[in-house]
């Protein structure tokens, strides 16, 4: 502005819009996020709306009847399979997430507090599983856990078991293990960031006030890193509940999750309305589970 006033050539007067924007920081912000926000709103609201709408339709023969009804939801209530699948999905995702968070926390703690040089290298190593495609990672686990796989060959070779263990692959445990490994990077990074952010003076102050290392951790480090733990939990839990690739490849009949059924309904079974209804139910379930975590998290922090 002052530049324009001082320049010898009469400046071109900025338009009313530019002047308005110059004065309003909030509107400048809105303008900047508008393209992305617009795209996101369209890309979220449109599929969400069409899924909701489709879930009220029904299948008659090979045609889709567009008379709105809640029959799909009623059918799900009437059949125990849906409840079992959703319950199992929640359980697998919960266990995988809890195990991953528990294993990643010490790792993130170590890098945040005890690594002083080449931190970037360590972080890169921790996120290494993410450098290959998801499918390849799951395949690699098939090779490890399979009947004639790495693990079984090793166990037989060492004489721990006489014949290979068939139960390693195609089980709920296999799904849990593969999910935990595949999503580790999502858990370790938020925890690392929250630990790294903690002002070391707080720990010195706690030591000064008489707390040994163990007490310092539980009274200062852990509570202050909770936001990162909660973020890690969500980042991993939400996508794993609906995952269908891992259960499809290493799950077998016992390891099937709700994502597989949704995929089947949209695919081989060709019953899109039922698939849409199940998706909606799953979404609501995840939202409720998330709410429950949040409330529990609040209570933990209060204590």
């Amino acid at each position: 502005m002052t530049l324009a006033a001082n320049s010898p050539v009469p400046p071109v007067r900025p338009g009313a819009v530019l002047r308005f924007l110059h004065r309003n920081e909030a509107w400048r912000g809105y303008l900047l996020i508008l393209p992305a926000l617009g795209l996101m709103l369209v890309a979220i609201l449109f599929p969400l709306g069409s899924t909701l709408m489709m879930s009220t339709w029904s299948l008659s023969g090979y045609e889709i009847a567009r008379t709105p009804s809640l029959d799909n939801y009623a059918a799900m209530l009437g059949h125990p399979m849906y409840g079992v699948l959703i319950g199992r999905s929640l359980e697998v995702a919960l266990v995988a997430t809890a195990v991953t968070v528990a294993l990643c926390y010490p790792m993130a703690y170590y890098v945040a507090f005890h690594v002083h040089r080449h931190k970037a290298l360590w972080l890169m190593l921790m996120t290494l599983p993410f450098w290959t495609s998801y499918l390849l990672r799951v395949f690699a686990w098939k090779v490890v856990l399979g009947y004639e796989g790495v693990l079984n060959t090793a166990l037989v070779g060492l004489g721990v078991v006489e014949t290979p263990v068939a139960a390693l692959l195609y089980s709920q445990t296999a799904v849990t293990v593969v999910l935990a490994h595949s999503w580790a990077a999502f858990a370790v990074l938020p925890i690392y960031v929250s630990l790294e952010k903690i002002d070391r003076t707080y720990l010195e102050a706690a030591a000064d006030l008489g707390d040994g290392p163990w007490r310092r951790f539980w009274r200062i480090t852990f509570p202050l890193s909770l936001p990162g733990v909660v973020a890690a939990f969500f980042l991993m839990f939400v996508p794993t509940v609906g995952d269908y690739i891992t259960p499809a490849m290493v799950g077998g009949p016992d390891g099937m999750m709700v994502g597989n059924l949704i995929q089947a309904m949209f695919g081989p079974m060709n019953n899109w309305p039922a698939g849409a209804a199940l998706s909606v139910v799953l979404m609501v379930t995840i939202a409720l589970a998330g709410l429950a975590f949040l409330i529990v998290g609040r209570l933990v922090r209060r204590v």
Partner: protein, 359 residues
Amino acid sequence: MITIRNVSKAFGRVQAVQDVSLEIARGEFFSLLGASGSGKTTLLRMIAGFEGVSAGQIFIDGQEMQDTPPHRRPINMVFQSYAIFPHLNVRDNIAYGLRRLGMPRAEQDRQVEEMLELIALPGYGARKASQLSGGQMQRVALARALILKPKVLLLDEPLGALDKQLREQMQLELRGLQRRLGITFVLVTHDQEEAFTLSDRVAVMAQGAVVQVDSPAGLYDRPRNRQVAAFVGNMNFFEARMAGDGRTGMAEIAGLGMQAVNSGSARRSEGERVVAAIRPEGLGIVIAPDGQAPAVAGRIVARQYLGGRQILHVAIEGRDAPVAVAAPARPGEDDWAGAEGQAVWLTWRPQAISILDAE
């Protein structure tokens, strides 16, 4: 209370503290004064136990502290950043050290309330750290340390982040508190006024070493060398050469001529190169000399008006930099106003000129 014996600290190849020995008495308010990088904070952190010593020993209350981790030392500290725990409210911050001790909850609460009274923040117990101002955080940090009744309280630039008025108020409060509680306080500061206001004794540090330990008045009147003299208030330095030794010998001083000086306790040899130092307050200005006090002619080249007093810069023969002279500036007696360029005489009492080591 605290004995520091030949303590050194090296960080890699950097020597942060070099062979420091100090004796801090029980109930004393002791300050470590120095510019940044002088090693004062490192020394404090070694007393607290956050840094190990590279060489030497630290005793607190007669106990060697080498193998005692910070949480077992009978000291508490007020940190420069206050380090008020952000996830706890004021009450839990203050009670932090008590919670561990297995004291009944009611007794803890009573002591916290007592502390809140002491730091003049009653009713603030439920506030979060983020709702406190800098001065309030400082008080909470103080209460959190004092509630454990430490033998020694360490303060690391506790008032540095406060604005001037609040700082002066807190200085008086700190001093009063220390007097009342009788706890040994060790303060780190780079602010000479703060050190002087608060302390019984001050250790001036430079380049990792203690240069001089004395009372504030002792430091001001009898600085050991040029470094201390320059750090503690303003000082005019003159090149000089001793004409004789003894307590009130004579010295040939550049710009002032042969003068009687206060050569201090150090023995000087005849002809030794020294520095003559005189405070701006040690000099006076007159229009004509009275023939008794020593005097030298000069000319006022600049005037700094500071309210209650003024600093006049007087150029004299045989010296490049003008000499700073403090003079009262009383309302209505505008003697030297606009007097730049006026010819005057500088006078002083012989004891006002100190003789320091040349370097």
